[in-house]
Amino acid sequence: MTFKIPRFLTKKSILVIILFVVVITILYIMQSADLKVSSLIMISLDAMVPLGLVAIGEVVNERAGTTNIGLEGIMLLCSFVAVLGAQNAGNWAVGILAGIVTGAAIGLIHGLISIYAKGDQIISGMGINLFAAGFVAYGIWTVWDTPGSHLLSTGLGMPRISTPWGGLSWFVPLTIVLALVVHFIFYKTRWGVWIRAAGESPGAVDASGINVFRLRLLACIFGAILAALAGAFMSLDWVHMTTNSLPAGRGFIALACVVFSGLRPISALGAAIIFGFFGGLSKWMMAVPQVVAAIPPGVDNFVNMIPYIVTLIAVAVVVSRRRFPKSVGRPYRREEI
């Protein structure tokens, strides 16, 4: 008789278990050191939202067969537009709406370039990132005459759900519900079958009389709108300001979540929770006086590195040769059926 390794012990599940053990240990140490554990969890939930929203949107987008690495840029652009809209109208809801419209417009442009005109999706996405970086810097400078950042006026931030541990963003339940809804659509409805088939074999979908191009375009716009929501959340609900580099790589960490999830919406949410925890951890460490006092000068930069290092290690350990949809990233041409 030989000892059989249980099937669930894949490299990835081991990593997930290790990460959870690390999380629990950190929480336990904090509890015994009389630090506020609840504040860390609240910050982690905030940090989870942008990753989760972007990752769920990109899962839909990639399932339908298009990639968009410009989500970071869409977040940045929409975080700025949301503040601009909220300031001008004196109402946060207008800001969110302005962000969504902007995000949809950028998604439309990216979709037209990569789906209808068959351009290079990666270059187009990177162009969106560069454009957003330039445009937001230009916008902050010309609208508010300040370089680099603008604080949201008090009272314009989104209201939060009050809990015993502090305010909880409405975006937290929204993100979780969105993951469940997308999961339901994917596996229980006709639309889900079409979307998943559009990435696997667009020719078959086309032959069954469904417009693949329009389906992919809609998925692309959906992904961009979720990225826009993530940006609006960051500026209006979380940090209450707009800066030149507000997402700070979160759009790309979300791409890592997408790889990690194997294009399943609920796994993407799980990845966002894990990565969000480490993002929240580094933010929390810089905010709690006892911790700041304990950190020697200069070492704070290494604390800021935590989310990026964890992401790098996670994508390195997980073998990402998981099968992705066959046609993802390849524009569909009718002749290729």
Binding site: I122, I123, S124, L130, F135, N301, L312, V315
Partner: protein, 353 residues
């Protein structure tokens, strides 16, 4: 054998495509200026006058060309090898820091410059190495790993510039490169580092188009599966693509710190070493990922970067508009057939009416 005329028309198409992307970028940029109430024509006049028609401006343009050409090679060479290497930003920072580190030893004149160049190139390559290994061994897409390493480099440099490499002098910068280890100046702010950059471009051109190794790298970039059938190892070609790219970006960082007056040091907020890496993407795309084409496109973008200060001084237009233009140019470059599509649409329109 192709005649001169054929070769010329072969060259004309990519050049018109690049020019078209530039024109669209400038037109949409102008639109954003009009929205905020600026006059784009006067703005562009001062932009290009400041870039190419004053002595100080021209020196600064060519100085930017040095940097942008090298980071352009990082991205362009990657594209030729089928890689989307956007890690030049981090590799550039590490190169700049390595040059400062080398400058902190007191080495004899000449040797100091050489050691600085070697250190910065090695630091850039070192920062590209994990990306290559992850890509080849694990199939990790380089977009994610390079961006993560860019941010790690950013915070690492922030630590270094405020910590071990901080200068205790009056200025709040990193340690300054000693005057004996700097690149000699040609005129204005232009240092002789430009010759090294152009030499690097020519060497890369020679490797890519006149050696067997370059042929293999391009074959992998063109069609990885076919290259594998031909007996080429894609992993090796990718590794070389990343490493040469890292050497170029690191050299760019070193050449900036050791060559561009007046500071010869990294500022404590890293302001003077940020943003170059990403500009390389536009340089490479407009230069059609060809080292010799990139010399011209680096001069164009160098001109934009150098002229933007004059533009702001004389017209009040914020310098950031240049980054907006660069972004739009890159989006246009995603669609090289844009001009053909428009032509076809126009033809169809006139034909039917």
């Amino acid at each position: 054998m192709s005649s001169l005329g054929e070769r010329f028309s072969e060259l004309a198409k990519p050049v018109t495509r690049s020019l078209f992307a530039i024109v669209i970028g400038l037109v949409i940029g102008a639109l954003f200026l009009v929205i905020r109430g600026y006059d784009p024509l006067i703005g562009f006049y001062y932009l290009f006058r400041g870039a190419f028609f004053t002595e100080i401006g021209l020196a600064s343009t060519l100085s930017y060309t040095t940097t942008l050409l090298l980071v352009g090679i990082t991205f362009g060479l990657g594209m030729r090898a089928g890689l989307f290497n956007i890690g030049a930003e981090g590799q550039f920072m590490m190169g700049a820091m390595a040059a400062v580190f080398a400058g902190s030893f007191s080495l004899p004149p000449g040797l100091g410059l050489l050691v600085g160049i070697i250190f910065s190139m090695l630091a850039g390559a070192l920062w590209a190495l994990p990306v290559a290994i992850l890509k080849i061994k694990k199939g990790v897409h380089e977009v994610v790993s390079t961006i993560m390493l860019n941010w790690i480099a950013f915070y690492l440099c922030l630590y270094l510039v405020l910590g071990p490499l901080f200068s205790s002098g009056i200025s709040s910068t990193s340690i300054q490169i000693p005057s004996s280890s700097r690149f000699p100046l040609l005129f204005g702010t232009l240092s002789s580092a430009i010759f090294i950059a152009i030499l690097f471009a020519i060497i890369v051109y020679f490797i890519m188009w006149h050696t067997r190794l370059g042929c293999k790298i391009r074959a992998v970039g063109f069609d990885q599966e076919s290259a594998r059938y031909m007996g080429i190892k894609p992993g090796r070609a990718m590794m070389i693509g990343f490493i040469i790219g890292g050497l170029a970006a690191g050299l760019a960082g070193g050449a900036l710190i050791m060559g561009v007056p007046p500071s010869y040091a990294v500022s404590t907020n890293l302001e003077n070493i940020i943003g170059y890496g990403f500009a390389g993407i536009a340089v490479a795309l407009i230069g059609r990922n060809h080292p010799l084409g990139m010399i011209f496109s680096a001069m164009f973008f160098g001109g934009l970067w150098s002229g933007k200060r004059d533009m702001q001084i004389f017209t009040g237009i914020p310098v950031e508009i240049v980054d907006v233009v660069i972004g739009i140019i890159v989006i246009c470059a995603a669609l090289p057939e844009l001009l053909d599509i428009i032509k076809k649409k126009v033809k169809r329109g006139t034909g039917s009416t």
